[in-house]
C-alpha cells in the first residue's frame, strides 16, 4: 500500500502545466514569429533575422534608439534613487523600534502600489500641470522614482526582517558607531535584498507604460510608449523582434536576480 502523502492532489500537476502553458504560449508564439522572413505577420515563410536587423537599422531605428536611451537611462536613475530612499526607509521601519504612526508610515510608503496605476498617472499629470512643471524627460524620471520606491522597499525590508538584530548589536558592542554598524555589518548582509530591490525597481521603471504615457509630454518616448504607438497601427514584425529582445532582457534580469538571491541566502543560512 502507498503511504498517505498530504502533498499530492490528483490533477494539480495538470493545472500547473496548463498555467505555465497559458503564461508562455503567447510569448513563445511572438518570439517564433519574430524570426519570420515574411512581411506579412500571418504566414510563416521561413526563418530569418531580417526584423532584428530592421530594429537596429530600419526606418524606425532612430526612434527606437532614442526610446531605448530614454528608457534605460530613466530606469537606472529611477532605480538608484528609489533604492537609496527605500533602503533608508527599510532601516527606519524595521530597525527603528516601535513608534506611533508606523502603520501610517507603511501605508504612505506602499501607497504607489496600493493606488491603481491609472490613478497615480492622473494624479501626477494633474499635479505637474498645476505647478507648471514641464512634461518631458524629467517628469517621467520623477514619476518613476516615486512609483518604484515600494517595489524597492519590499524586498529590502523583507531581507532586513530576516536578519537578526543581534548582528548590529554585536557590531555596536564591538565599538562600531551606528553608521559603521550599518556600513560594515548590516549593509553587506542586506546586500542581496538591496540588489533585488534595485533590479525590481529597474524592471518596473523599464516596463511602465501607463504613468509614462500620461506624463511624457510630446516628443519624448520610452520603449513601451513607442511600442504602444506602433501597435496602434497594427502589429508589425519589427515590433515583434523588439518585443522579443525586451523579453530576453527581462529573462536575463530575473535570472540574475534569482541567482543572486539564492547565493545570498546560502551564504547567510549555512
Amino acid at each position: 500500500m502507498r503511504g498517505f502523502d498530504p502533498r499530492n492532489y490528483t490533477g494539480f500537476l495538470t493545472v500547473t502545466l496548463v498555467c505555465l502553458f497559458i503564461l508562455y504560449a503567447p510569448l513563445i508564439v511572438v518570439a517564433v514569429y519574430s524570426f519570420n522572413d515574411s512581411v506579412s505577420i500571418t504566414r510563416f515563410t521561413g526563418v530569418s533575422l531580417r526584423w532584428y536587423a530592421d530594429v537596429f537599422t530600419g526606418l524606425e531605428a532612430a526612434k527606437f534608439r532614442a526610446a531605448a536611451a530614454n528608457s534605460f537611462s530613466i530606469a537606472i536613475m529611477a532605480a538608484m534613487a528609489a533604492t537609496a530612499i527605500a533602503t533608508a526607509a527599510a532601516v527606519g521601519m524595521v530597525r527603528g523600534g516601535n513608534f506611533r504612526g508606523k502603520p501610517a508610515s507603511f501605508a504612505l510608503i506602499s501607497m504607489p502600489i496600493m493606488v491603481p496605476e491609472i490613478v497615480t498617472a492622473v494624479a501626477t499629470l494633474i499635479f505637474f500641470s498645476t505647478i507648471g512643471f514641464a512634461l518631458g524627460y524629467l517628469s517621467i524620471l520623477v514619476a518613476h522614482i516615486v512609483f518604484c520606491i515600494p517595489f524597492a522597499y519590499l524586498p529590502i525590508a523583507a531581507r532586513l526582517q530576516g536578519i537578526e538584530a543581534s548582528f548590529e548589536e554585536a557590531a555596536q558592542d564591538l565599538y562600531a558607531n551606528r553608521w559603521r554598524a550599518f556600513r560594515y555589518v548590516l549593509a553587506p548582509i542586506m546586500a542581496p535584498g538591496i540588489f533585488s530591490g534595485f533590479l525590481l525597481a529597474f524592471i518596473i521603471s523599464l516596463d511602465d507604460f501607463i504613468i509614462t504615457n500620461f506624463v511624457k509630454g510630446a516628443g519624448v518616448e520610452t520603449l513601451p510608449t513607442a511600442i504602444f504607438g506602433a501597435v496602434k497601427q497594427g502589429i508589425k514584425p519589427n515590433i515583434m523582434a523588439l518585443s522579443t529582445l525586451l523579453l530576453l532582457f527581462s529573462i536575463l534580469i530575473v535570472t540574475l536576480s534569482y541567482l543572486i538571491g539564492r547565493s545570498g541566502n546560502e551564504k547567510y543560512q549555512n
Binding site: G92, G97, M114, P116, V146, F209, R262
Partner: protein, 304 residues
C-alpha cells in the same frame, strides 16, 4: 531578544535617527503622490476646459455627467445615464471573473510548486516568476497577436479542423477577460505559494489520522490555514484588473471600455474632459480603498 516578553522585541538600533531615515520617502511620496491624489479630488469639482485642463470654478458637473443624461444641450429633464455606470459594472464583473479564474488555476499551481522538493521547487517558481517580470505591454500585445482573427490560435484550430471559420475573440469581452487573466495570473500564484510553503503538513496528517478524506482535509484544514495567502492573491489580481488599461484598450477595442480606458480617454484621448476623468478616478480609487479597508480589517481581526 529580551526574555519574557511575548514574541520578539522590536529592534531599535536605529531608533534615534529614525526620522532622518524615513523622511526622504515620506517627502517624496507625500509631495509627488499623496498631495496629487488629493488634488484629483479638487479637480473633480472643477469646470472643464475644452482640449484638456480646467477652469477654477467649482461645480458638480463631472459627477452629474457620470450619473445623469440631460440631453444634448443640457436642458432636458435628467434621466439616468447608463453609459458610465455600465462601464463601471463591467469593470467590476471583469475584475471579479479574472480573480476567480486566476484563483482556480493559480491555487493548484501554487500548491503543486510549493510541495515539490527544494531543488525542483525553485525551478518551477522561476518559471512562474519570469512572466511576472516581462513587460505587461509586451505580454498584452502577444496575446493580441495570438488571438486575432488571422492569428496563430485560429490558424491552429482551423488546421486541426476543430472550427470551420475563425473564432471572433478579439474585440470582445472575452478577449479582455483573457488579457486580464493572463496579465495578473502570476500575482495570484506567488502569495498563495508563500502561504502553502509555510503550511505545516503534519496538520493534514493529523486530519487524515482523524478520518478526514483528502478533499475534506483541503476544505476543512488547508484552506482556512492558507486563507491569508489566498486573500492577498485575490486582492493583487482584483485591484489592478479593476483599473486595467492595456487589456481593454488593446484587446477590447472601442466597445468594451473599462474604467481605465474611460479615464485615459479623458486625459489622452479625444474627450479631453479633465474634471470628468478626475471624478472617474476618485470613484475608482474609492472602490479600491473599500476593498483594502475590508482587507486590513480582516487582517487586524486575524491577529487578535
Amino acid at each position: 531578544m529580551a526574555a519574557g516578553i511575548g514574541g520578539r522585541t522590536v529592534s531599535s538600533a536605529f531608533a534615534p535617527i529614525r526620522l532622518w531615515l524615513l523622511l526622504p520617502s515620506w517627502v517624496v511620496i507625500g509631495f509627488f503622490l499623496l498631495i496629487p491624489v488629493l488634488l484629483i479630488l479638487v479637480y473633480s469639482f472643477l469646470t472643464k476646459e475644452f482640449r484638456g485642463g480646467v477652469i477654477w470654478d467649482f461645480t458638480l458637473a463631472a459627477y452629474d455627467q457620470f450619473l445623469f443624461d440631460r440631453g444634448l444641450f443640457g436642458d432636458d429633464p435628467p434621466t439616468i445615464q447608463w453609459t458610465y455606470i455600465t462601464i463601471f459594472v463591467r469593470s467590476i464583473l471583469q475584475a471579479a471573473v479574472a480573480t476567480v479564474l486566476c484563483l482556480l488555476i493559480g491555487f493548484p499551481t501554487a500548491w503543486y510548486i510549493a510541495t515539490r522538493a527544494a531543488r525542483m521547487r525553485s525551478i518551477w517558481l522561476f518559471l512562474v516568476t519570469v512572466p511576472y517580470w516581462v513587460n505587461l505591454l509586451i505580454r498584452t500585445v502577444s496575446m493580441k497577436f495570438l488571438i486575432r482573427e488571422n492569428g496563430p490560435l485560429n490558424e491552429f484550430l482551423l488546421a486541426l479542423g476543430i472550427i470551420d471559420s475563425p473564432l471572433e475573440i478579439i474585440n470582445t469581452d472575452i478577449a479582455v477577460q483573457l488579457g486580464l487573466f493572463y496579465s495578473y495570473l502570476p500575482f495570484m500564484v506567488l502569495p498563495i505559494y508563500a502561504a502553502v510553503e509555510r503550511y505545516n503538513f503534519a496538520l493534514s496528517e493529523a486530519g487524515a489520522d482523524l478520518y478526514a478524506g483528502r478533499w475534506t482535509i483541503m476544505r476543512e484544514i488547508v484552506l482556512p490555514v492558507v486563507k491569508p495567502g489566498i486573500i492577498a492573491g485575490c486582492i493583487l489580481v482584483f485591484v489592478p484588473s479593476l483599473g486595467a488599461f492595456l487589456a481593454p484598450d488593446l484587446l477590447g477595442g472601442a466597445k468594451n471600455f473599462m474604467i481605465g480606458s474611460l479615464i485615459e480617454e479623458q486625459f489622452k484621448g479625444q474627450a479631453g474632459n479633465w474634471p470628468f476623468g478626475a471624478a472617474s478616478s476618485m470613484i475608482l480609487l474609492s472602490m479600491v480603498l473599500v476593498v483594502l479597508f475590508f482587507y486590513a480589517r480582516g487582517q487586524a481581526r486575524e491577529q487578535v
